[in-house]
């Protein structure tokens, strides 16, 4: 898809009168918008569904089922407002695809179709939009989904951080798979697929007022193939959750509350790369609360744990996978950690925005 157009230094060709930036007219519904869609979005996301070019895209369910097997649908939406738009390891474009793909994967679904809604700020360089859309197209190819429908709006300068993207996703859950945050059972083992905190700290290192030099890159990645491999090994998976906002701590707390069980893990078992640990120490933050974009928690019966761990480790996105803890029947709704010195503590939900400490 992306081979068809080179977005480097891209500006809209005539008849867009070669605008180097987004102007209000690009959201007007008129000729300029049609040109933007034709020359940018349709070229990048080129597929039969999008090419229907109707008010709504028609999905032929019999064809969907014959290609993917029948089952239940999973349906999700997410909005992406990350600032800055480009960060070490990725940009808002691939984030908007992987975020929704991963949300579908966490219910065990095979992601199929995505919508993409763009809110563009007047003055956004056309080359920036081109680069983001190009990343989205690559991300779609990599995760095996198609953009089936889309929308573009332009807001006045000063009314948006360059661009916001909303994606909605539709996927099919194979027969026999029943994954839900309510399904954790005492005795279950808890696995995580690798180092935590990379995405949040990559973004934090660029945040105005807190800038620091680092080699940390966002871990943004599509998790659906890894989840598919796990499901093909065993359908006995109780919960999957991707550890995005609020980090690992928030996900474990949500699972503890939804399933009405307790969770205990060993702090020393949590994989964190040294750079992330050091930056967290410097800012007074806890890696457990830092956002990820390519990490998830799997809760499953003890008997399946070792097998699934090996499947994870065989995948590039799960090389550092580990078993971090287990589900218990005491203290329902509460997550506790065994600390580095062998003590115990509660691991609470984060209160709000993460605040770097004073000294």
């Amino acid at each position: 898809m992306t081979d068809k157009v080179n977005f480097n230094g891209w500006t809209c060709p005539r008849p867009l009168q070669n605008y180097p930036t987004i102007v209000l007219g690009h959201g007007s519904g008129g000729k300029m918008m049609a040109d933007l869609i034709q020359h940018l979005f349709s070229k990048a996301f080129d597929n039969d569904l999008l090419n229907q070019m109707a008010d709504s895209t028609i999905l032929d369910l019999s064809r969907v089922f014959s290609a993917n097997g029948s089952g239940r649908f999973a349906f999700t939406t997410d909005s992406f407002v990350v600032s800055p738009l480009f960060f070490p390891g990725g940009n808002i474009g691939e984030l908007s695809i992987y975020g929704t793909v991963n949300d579908l994967a966490m219910s065990g679904a095979k992601p199929l179709f995505l919508s993409a809604g763009f809110i563009l700020e007047e003055g956004l360089p056309m080359a920036t939009l081109g680069e983001v859309v190009s990343s989205m197209a690559k991300a779609c190819t990599l995760s095996g989904v198609e953009i089936a429908t889309g929308d573009t709006k332009v807001v006045n300068r000063g009314h948006g951080d360059g661009m916001y993207i909303n994606t909605t996703g539709l996927g099919i859950i194979p027969q026999g798979v029943n994954i839900s945050p309510k399904n954790a059972r005492p005795g279950d083992f808890i696995l995580v697929n690798g180092n935590i905190g990379d995405h949040g700290m990559a973004i934090m290192s660029l945040r105005s007022g807190l800038e620091f030099e680092t080699t940390i890159k966002s871990d943004t990645a599509p998790l659906n193939k890894l989840v598919e491999s796990i499901i093909s090994e065993t359908t006995e998976i109780h919960c999957l959750r991707d550890a995005t906002r609020g980090g690992l701590a928030a996900v474990l707390n949500e699972l503890a509350m939804s399933s009405k069980i307790g969770i205990e893990f060993d702090e020393r078992s949590i994989p964190v790369q040294p750079e992330v640990n050091a930056s967290c120490e410097m800012l007074g933050l806890d890696p457990l609360y830092i956002a990820n974009e390519g990490k998830f928690v799997a809760v499953l019966p003890e008997a399946q744990a070792e097998k699934v761990l090996q499947v994870m480790r065989a995948d590039p996105l799960g090389i550092n996978a580990v078993i971090i803890g287990k589900v218990v029947d005491n203290h329902p709704g509460v997550v506790t950690a065994r600390t580095s010195i062998g003590g115990m503590r509660v691991v609470d939900l984060p209160a709000g925005e993460l605040l770097p400490r004073i000294c």
Binding site: G209, L210, S340, I341, G343, L355, I358
Partner: protein, 375 residues
């Protein structure tokens, strides 16, 4: 991580705890002065592993917690102005003022920015010549040098649209106030390692002598803290009261002399109100008269007299003096949580109430830990 993992070592911690068990013969009350130590104790679960004869009480060393309500309200007033860019350490944004916090000012259109270094305020001031950039200069002796440096640089670079709302406090004055108070019973102090890194520990020597109380300079990792406690208990058991340094990898007796020089050049000692405690004589820094052009209260004289209203339920004053454990407060975990804080001690990453709520709430695992100690 070098110089970190070693000080979180389970084996070493347990060895020190066993040493402690061997020498302790009676109950002792120790106060860890710094909120950073309180959090480390709760976060590592050390509170449940110490011999029951040790009663740890938490001191006033949380800069966010003791910043007077009046200053928070002044900050809120300034941050609400359209001609001001208000810059602050992150911790301060959620601290409740009389009616709101800085986060809600930001939500209502105030230009409030979180910084890690006060020097970034100068860059923002240069970039925004039509606004006044006000930095919330709070903290103990630890943050005083960079804050003083920002004022010095503003002066030398002729940045006139920069001002600082100053609420600096000092540790030795707080120790004197606590020891003079008839309600506070502390047998020994763990002094704050970071403050002593800047100031040294010579100024604690007359205090140890006068109040006949051991003061041990202590670090922040679990091994550091047990090491500090061990030294303190050792003195108490032997009837000694000296200043000892259990954080020698960072602290010297004289401290960081260039940093002290910068503080003394820019600031002078003043009486300062502490939130929840009251005015402590000679316990704060204010800008010297030659730097008054950078004093936000001089810059904006209209904020000098304002009315404040403290929550009637909040008992953080007692907590900050070590007279009440956070979870003994009737509002703890009910009206007062990190989401709905009544006082600053429930907000700050160094506040004792926040530490209890975050790490200790609902946890009853003493049996597990005692069993572990015998491993």
């Amino acid at each position: 991580m070098k110089f970190l993992e070693e000080y979180r070592d389970a084996g070493l911690t347990k060895k020190l705890l066993r040493d402690l068990d061997k020498i302790i013969t009676r109950e002792w009350t120790l106060m860890e002065v710094c909120g950073g130590q309180t959090h480390s104790i709760m976060r590592s679960g050390l509170d449940q592993m110490l011999p029951p004869k040790i009663n740890l009480v938490h001191g006033p060393g949380c800069p966010v917690c003791v910043t007077p309500l009046e200053l928070i309200d002044k900050a809120i007033l300034l941050a609400s102005r359209s001609d001001v860019i208000f810059t602050s350490f992150g911790d301060m944004l959620r601290v409740p003022g009389s009616s709101k916090d800085l986060f809600s000012v930001k939500a209502n259109g105030g230009d409030v920015r979180i910084l890690y270094s006060p020097l970034d305020s100068l860059r923002i001031a240069r970039e925004n010549p039509d606004k006044t950039v006000v930095f919330f200069g709070i903290g103990f002796e630890t943050t005083a040098p960079p804050n003083a440096m920002a004022v010095l640089q503003a002066k030398s670079q002729g940045i006139n649209n920069f001002a600082m709302l100053v609420s600096h406090v000092t540790v030795p004055a707080a120790i004197i106030a606590l020891m003079e108070s008839p309600d506070v019973q502390v047998d020994g102090f763990l002094a704050a390692g970071h403050v002593c890194t800047v100031m040294g520990y010579w100024e604690y020597e007359p205090l140890a002598e006068k109040y006949r109380v051991p003061i041990v300079v202590t670090g922040f990792e679990p091994v550091d803290i047990v090491h500090g406690i061990l030294k303190c208990i050792n003195q108490l058991e032997k009837g000694k009261y000296e200043v000892e340094n259990a954080y020698a990898r960072s602290v010297t007796r004289e401290g960081n002399l260039p940093a002290q020089a910068v503080i003394n050049r820019v600031f002078e000692i003043c009486d300062r109100p502490w939130r929840g405690i009251g005015v402590i004589p000679s316990s704060g820094y204010r800008l010297r008269p030659e730097f008054s052009q950078f004093d936000a209260e001089v810059h904006f004289p209209e904020i000098q007299s304002i009315e404040t209203k403290e929550s009637e339920l909040c008992m953080s004053g007692l907590v900050l003096q070590g007279r009440m454990k956070p979870d003994h407060c009737p509002a703890f975990g009910k009206e007062c949580t990190p989401q709905t804080p009544l006082g600053a001690t429930m907000v700050s990453s160094e506040g004792a109430c926040a530490a209890y709520y975050r790490y200790g709430r609902l946890l009853k695992v003493n049996d597990v830990l005692n069993q572990d100690l015998n491993d």
